[in-house]
Symmetry: C2
Subunit: 215 residues, 2 copies
Amino acid sequence: MLALIKIFVKLISNRYNIFMNPELLHEYIERISCLLDSEARMVGADLNLQPVQLNALNYINRSNRYSNTPQGVTEYLGLTKGTVSQTLSILESNGLIKKSPDKKDGRVVRLNVTAAGNKLLRKAIPSPSIRNTWEGLNEQDQSALVDGLKQLLLEMQKTNGMQAFGICGTCRFNSKRGEKKFFCELTQENLTLKDTELLCREHQSIEQETTPNVV
Amino acid sequence: MLALIKIFVKLISNRYNIFMNPELLHEYIERISCLLDSEARMVGADLNLQPVQLNALNYINRSNRYSNTPQGVTEYLGLTKGTVSQTLSILESNGLIKKSPDKKDGRVVRLNVTAAGNKLLRKAIPSPSIRNTWEGLNEQDQSALVDGLKQLLLEMQKTNGMQAFGICGTCRFNSKRGEKKFFCELTQENLTLKDTELLCREHQSIEQETTPNVV
DNA sequence: TAATATAGTTTCGATTCGAAACTATTTAAT
DNA sequence: ATTAAATAGTTTCGAATCGAAACTATATTA
């Protein structure tokens, strides 16, 4: 019954355009992507930052201690390491991030957002259009949208054979050890609540099972 | 009661990561955009086409008789007309589109996809990851996702003051005149069912009301 | 008839991007 | 222990995107 009502409401709201297909999904995604790029170019121009640089900066800000490296950025953005290396150099020379050598592995560079970088990020994210959209949606629609996108993201990552970045809350290696205590079965390390909210390169969905990078 | 069950299911499926916010939406959109770019680069490489060129080609294929011009592409992609002009030249020299002068207005160029362009589009769209995602979703989730994205798209277009491209089925200027007959109140022209499925520069949602471009 | 607006092109310089060659460090194999 | 292979990151180069601005041509308005 409820399903019937839903369909009826949909019929009215969309009028006679009731057919949905993957082409439509593609069209929406593609167009949103265009607009997002365009928006990023405008926001970036104000802040003297290119869209891709803003993306990289945001990732570094959101990444956990296993993931805040040039390689992590490379996988996240889906670009080549050479390209990313240049982007990071620019971010560093602008004083938005700081590079430091890893203590254990001499090949690895650690990336951290500076105070200036943080200030800049708070101005740019979330973008006005996304904030507006969010506020215009009721709670059900918010969840439906975010869940749908999450599915799409997972699928895209799977299809393209890419690492599925995510937070501990959805990771099969994570186990709860107390009120605000967590433990990563992969790295065998304790994690704080704050830790578990950051993005991880090693993230694997509960169903998923592949060979991890980290021992 | 049903709402309660829904929330419970969500709680389980997401485990303890139940908080949703615009930052999360931004993060998903941004990442999907990255992956889409990355995917477009791969698909494009196979077809000897840059991502932006594929986008433009797809738009031209999807645009109606009021919208298949360089200006239309410019608005759709959110780029400058100079940039788009170059992209279109490349598409034409590759034999994927054909430019022809408009019969009524000497300034306007009409763009049409050639047979070769069409063949290429059918190979590329919808992209594998989007098709896979689509097939993995049940009907409710499909609608929820598409509806959410539609809302996001509308909001982004509004926020950025951009023309809201869309099909007649959702346009306030469209009226039904028979089983498969339609009429555009803006251009005062009859439209076939096929016509009404194409994207239009002049599209305005039923609530929306601004000054149109066409007389 | 002149001024202005619109559609589109061309040119230029800045930036992004991938490919490939490169250095340095770590891990695996012999 | 020594060598080979793998990994992390940088540098260099050429191709492509992009916006800004100057430009041509046509249409509209004053």
